[in-house]
């Protein structure tokens, strides 16, 4: 496949860059991430993780099951900072009840 083929669409990392990272010793997804920024965009590796794991598995001739996935960090989904900070005191004090929370019934 053409070396310029994109693997991580958020950060526009192509196959060539990933293969070079593997040549430089990358063995897991997170190694590739640290070397290239692959998986550090908006989707947080949701699309490219298994694509990259597959490339590593083929290049290093290791079973796919042995290639560790990316380490997940909070927040798990794109979240506004205001949503994270707004209720900071609410999370410490015990004043909210379910009724006060935004609740949608079916």
């Amino acid at each position: 496949m053409e070396k310029s083929t994109i693997v991580c669409r958020c950060e526009e990392i192509n196959i060539d860059e990933i293969e070079i990272a593997i040549k430089n010793g990358a063995q897991e997804f997170d190694d590739i991430k640290r070397l290239t920024r692959c998986g550090m965009g908006t989707c947080q590796s949701k699309i490219c993780m298994n694509l990259v794991r597959k490339i590593i598995s083929e290049k290093l001739n290791k079973p796919l099951g042995e290639i560790a996935p990316s380490k997940m960090r909070m927040p798990l989904k794109v979240t506004r900072l205001s949503a994270l900070t707004k209720n900071i005191d609410l999370c410490i004090e015990e004043k909210a009840t379910l009724e006060e929370g935004e609740q949608t019934s079916v």
């Binding site: 083929t5 298994n50 079973p63 997940m72 927040p75 979240t79 949503a83 999370c91 929370g101 609740q103």
Partner: protein
């Protein structure tokens, strides 16, 4: 930090989450379901084909009508639906962090059932990031949920039951399916099904490239060594699914790998409890299966959560659990069921625990 408390917290309101909620709430548990979508049903909402392999208590019906069926079952039960809410992390002491986009707050649970489902895997080829290239599931959402035609001339990459089904749905709305590209050899029965509706399937084929200015305009195929060009404005990637793992990873559940379960998945016991006590897995997140398997695993997880909350008698629990596992054995593809039982055996082995005789029996059966 205790605010919202519940017996059983369920992440995901797809078929597994809904069936788990129904089971749990109808046996006396307080239930909260969290889902990031605005309505319940998950991926069922755009399934317009008839789902045949449902467990006995459900009638054969279309996906979106199964959602209505659940709505009727659930509306009188003590279930709180937190729709448009997303799990984004965890707090200490059995609490997860949920946001609605405006604020973030903890929900404390006694038992957590994670039914986050599965994601479609991508396939890369030069040009796969062009607009007009999408997964087959995305094309189905556009068509059936958003009522938007995703294109006029299409190539589908990947030949399986689901890609053919969506191909048929696209065709019936006027999209011309130029070909379904099968990697290796295909299932003969499926091939005849495609032939009957006039969809061309090419085997031993791949996409060499997709090109176009601003959007996909042309695709070059390699069919058994021969190149073939097609002018298209839609390329659907119909790949396999893999379990969605973020929630398990953040909860430090150990992962395992089984090709037949869709790759990496959270390790679990025959209770569907993961290696993190009080965290259960259900549905496609526990291994890719059919709709019947998704519904049954939802019930199994709920049943075990109920029992550990002492909301069930032992005999009642034991009988139903066995019946559910036997039902799963009958309804699931045999290789999926085998992989599942093998995975459970591994979990017991890794944790140096004796395999329950019941699982031993299931192993022999398959």
């Amino acid at each position: 930090m205790v605010k919202i408390k519940t017996d059983i917290l369920i992440i995901g309101s797809g078929p597994a989450g809904l069936n788990a909620a129904y089971t749990a709430a109808s046996h006396g548990a307080n239930v909260i379901i969290v889902d990031e979508a605005i309505t319940i049903g998950g991926q069922l909402k755009q399934q317009t084909q008839i789902l045949n392999n449902l467990p006995g208590e459900f009638n054969s019906q279309r996906g979106f009508s199964l959602v209505d069926d659940f709505y009727e079952r659930l509306k009188s039960l003590p279930i709180t639906f937190l729709l448009r809410h997303t799990m984004i992390g965890i707090y200490k002491n059995n609490s997860i962090g949920v946001t609605n986009g405006k604020e973030t707050f903890p929900i404390t649970y006694k038992k957590l059932i994670i039914a986050t489902g599965a994601a479609e895997e991508a396939t890369i080829f030069p040009g796969w990031t062009l607009p007009g290239v999408m997964t087959i599931g995305a094309a189905q959402i556009l068509l059936n949920r958003e009522h938007v035609l995703p294109g006029n001339e299409a190539i589908i990459l990947g030949f399986n039951e689901f890609s053919l089904e969506v191909g048929k749905q696209l065709e019936s709305c006027g999209v011309n399916i130029k070909a379904i590209v099968a990697k290796g050899n295909y299932d003969v029965e499926l091939f005849h099904e495609a032939k009957n509706v006039g969809i061309r399937v090419v085997s031993n084929a791949t996409i060499i490239s997709a090109t176009g200015v601003n959007e996909v305009e042309k695709v070059v195929l390699n069919i058994d060594g021969i190149e073939e060009e097609h002018m298209v404005d839609l390329v659907c990637i119909g790949n396999r699914l893999s379990p969605i793992l973020e929630a398990f990873e953040i909860l430090s559940c150990q992962l395992a790998y089984q090709e037949d379960l869709g790759g990496l998945f959270p390790k679990y016991y025959n209770s569907l409890e993961t290696t993190n006590t009080s965290v259960y897995v259900a549905g496609n997140a526990a291994g890719i299966t059919n709709i019947g398997g998704i519904l049954i695993t939802g019930e199994i997880a709920a049943w075990n959560a109920l029992y550990s909350l002492e909301l069930l008698e032992y005999s009642q629990f034991k009988n139903r659990s066995r019946a559910l596992w036997e039902q799963l054995y009958r309804i699931e593809e045999s290789q999926v069921f085998k992989a599942r039982i093998a995975a459970i055996k591994e979990t017991y082995k890794d944790e140096s625990l004796a395999l329950p005789p019941f699982v031993e029996l299931l192993l022999e059966e398959c």
